[in-house]
């Protein structure tokens, strides 16, 4: 069983653009870690450096305490699944899966057994004679996964493997991949820009932006206790209100809460589900639109300074557009200079 250790790895491309900026990350044995971030955040570059397809400008990458930083991809114990599946279209499924084993000069009988085994694992038993272009998108991605798994890699790398699939298939496949990963206990690094994917699959999420790690934590902590405004805004929906703290109170024309931090400018962050509304005649916020989703309602609000907020309410009935409401944040966080300053204790 295997662990991955990334130490202060940077990647500077020719034109002087820094794609990855001194990232350190440890992935424990059997752990599935998601690299989550917008495009251009460096998550794919980091993954490709682990796979050996890019050379780090500085830093080291070790697998099971063995330095692999300078090894080419074919000498690394990693297996990569590409976004575009990258199956070899001139070979059938069997040969796609057997290629790596043939390179390792395994006996034919063993190759046959292992191909059969891995096809069963990904639910494609009996598909070995098909050409890859005769398969659906989901089946192609399963074969791509099988092609990596058959070599029993120490580290499995997945580069947005479901990006080209439709929503329904994506959800099904990510459950399947997670099940397989848990069964095989393969140490896995997974790149995605979809927060649903990260939240539903990962043991740990690493949120990246501009080549840096913003936060690395368990999914529920990433959601409940974001350490930077970027993480707060990137995962789920977050309301931000700019204001000041004076004498232990957050002050804003339309909103005021107790906040035991030093005086100065502060960004208040409240999840829509933690922002309660109270209908009052002299309320400060104005309801702009109410959307009824049946199970809950979503209220769009405008503040006097132009800030727009969203509030998730159990029943949208008491609210209608144009009405004034009072804002009561149940749980919130406060940020100053891009770092978390405070989090209210009763955060849901």
């Amino acid at each position: 069983m295997s662990k991955l250790s990334i130490r202060a790895v940077s990647k500077v491309f020719g034109a002087g653009t820094t794609a990855v900026d001194s990232v350190s990350l440890d992935v424990a044995d059997g752990e599935l870690v998601c690299l989550l971030g917008p495009s251009g955040s460096g998550k794919s570059t980091l993954l490709r450096m682990v796979g050996g397809f890019e050379q780090p400008s500085s830093g080291t990458i070790a697998i099971d305490d063995q330095d692999v930083t300078r090894l080419p991809p074919e000498q690394r114990p990693t297996g990569m699944v590409f976004q575009s599946h990258a199956l070899w279209s001139h070979m059938n499924v069997f040969n796609n899966l057997a290629f790596g084993l043939k390179l390792r000069k395994r006996p034919a009988a063993e190759i046959r057994d292992r191909v059969e085994g891995v096809l069963e694992l990904v639910g494609l038993k009996g598909y070995d004679r098909r050409m890859t272009n005769e398969l659906s998108g989901g089946q192609q991605q399963r074969v791509a996964l099988a092609r990596s798994l058959i070599l029993e890699p120490k580290i499995l790398l997945l580069d947005e493997p479901f990006a080209s699939l439709d929503q329904h298939l994506r959800e099904r496949l990510r459950e399947e991949v997670r099940d397989i990963q848990l069964r095989l206990k393969t140490t896995t690094l997974f790149v995605t820009h979809g927060q649903d994917e990260a939240l539903s699959m990962a043991d740990r999420i690493v949120v990246m932006q501009n080549g840096r790690t913003e936060q690395a934590d368990r999914p529920e902590i990433i959601y409940r206790d974001p350490q930077t405004p970027f993480v707060a805004g990137f995962i789920g929906t977050m309301n931000f209100v700019e204001g000041r703290v004076e004498n232990g109170r957050f002050v804003h024309p339309d909103l005021s809460v107790v906040m035991p931090v030093s005086d100065g400018p502060v960004t208040l962050a409240v999840r829509p589900e933690a922002l309660d509304l109270i209908s009052t005649e002299d309320g400060a916020a104005v309801v702009h639109r109410v959307t009824d989703f049946g199970t809950h309602g979503l209220v769009d609000l405008h503040l006097s300074d132009g800030t727009r907020l969203k509030s998730l309410v159990r029943s949208p009935e008491p609210f209608s557009s144009g009405h004034a409401v009072d804002l009561r944040p149940r749980a919130f966080a406060a940020f100053r200079d891009n770092v978390k300053l405070y989090r209210s204790s009763d955060a849901a």
């Binding site: 796979g51 050996g52 397809f53 080419p72 991809p73 074919e74 990693t78 297996g79 990569m80 590409f82 976004q83 575009s84 990258a86 199956l87 070899w88 279209s89 001139h90 290629f99 790596g100 390179l103 390792r104 272009n133 791509a144 092609r147 990596s148 070599l151």
Partner: protein, 274 residues
């Protein structure tokens, strides 16, 4: 490579009309030549020949120089195609995948040979070959044909190599293949249909090339097209030309049959479209 699913067939009026016009323009002259080859007497204003026969075939096939020329043309085309592949394919791969100084200029220089009137170029080359004692030799002709093939054998394979998905190559590296193995097992097979098209064009192009073969090869080396010209020049008998012409179809026909089997549908288009 994109997946290609044939749409359901339906009757396409414009398509039929176009096919009809094309077959008249392409097939009719071939048909006339084909009929002439088996004709002994065909005088105006008859629509069909008065007398069919194989007399001119006998006369042609009994000539040793015809067989020599055919054998020479086939050997020459095979040698040139092979040499061109050995020289051009690695170069094409380099052009497609590597960055080096002078790459673009060098790349376009292969076009230059075809951008200017060729005869002047040939005369200049002939002058050089004369000093090198290459005039009238097999290798002199092979060399001049090689120059002609450079464009096809560089440009088309470059497009083929560029069209190969880099991720496929990376996936092969990932499962343990070194760079050479990746080229042999992934890149080359992926580019193969298009490269086969280039080889075919080179073979057929070399087989039918006349100017260079005549200027450099005369008098010792006489390829089929050169022989045909001398036939027509010596005695203006249509049937000789027709018989030779029909004989010249044979390599094209074989090549096209081969192409249909090996290359299939849209590879030619891919070869030019990249």
């Amino acid at each position: 490579m994109t997946q290609h699913i044939a749409p359901p067939r339906r009757i396409d009026g414009t398509g039929i009309l176009l096919a009809l016009v094309l077959s008249i323009v392409v097939v009719l002259p071939l048909l006339v030549v084909g009929v002439w080859a088996f004709t002994e007497v065909w005088r105006y204003p008859n629509v069909l020949p008065q007398q069919f026969g194989l007399r001119f075939w006998e006369q042609t096939l009994n000539r040793a120089d015809v067989w020599n020329a055919l054998w020479l043309s086939l050997t020459l085309s095979a040698v040139v195609t092979l040499a061109s592949a050995v020289i051009c394919l690695p170069a094409a791969y380099a052009f497609a995948r590597m960055r080096f100084p002078g790459r673009d200029i060098l790349f376009f220089s292969f076009l230059a040979g075809h951008a200017f009137p060729k005869f002047g170029l040939l005369v200049a080359i002939a002058a050089i070959f004369l000093q090198l004692d290459l005039i009238g030799t097999f290798w002199g002709v092979a060399l001049i044909q090689l120059v002609n093939t450079l464009m096809f054998m560089i440009w088309i394979p470059v497009a083929a190599f560029q069209a190969v998905d880099r991720r496929m190559e990376e996936a092969a590296r990932d499962v343990g293949a070194g760079p050479f193995r990746v080229f042999w097992s992934i890149t080359l097979p992926q580019a193969a249909p298009t490269i086969a098209a280039a080889l075919l064009l080179t073979f057929v192009g070399t087989f039918y090339e006349t100017e260079g073969a005549w200027l450099i090869g005369a008098p010792g080396i006489r390829t089929m097209p050169v022989l045909m010209i001398s036939f027509i020049n010596n005695q203006m008998v249509i049937q000789f030309g027709a018989v030779l012409s029909v004989m010249l179809w044979v390599p094209s026909f074989i090549a096209l049959m081969f192409a249909r089997r090996v290359i299939g549908g849209n590879a030619f288009a891919k070869g030019f479209g990249g």
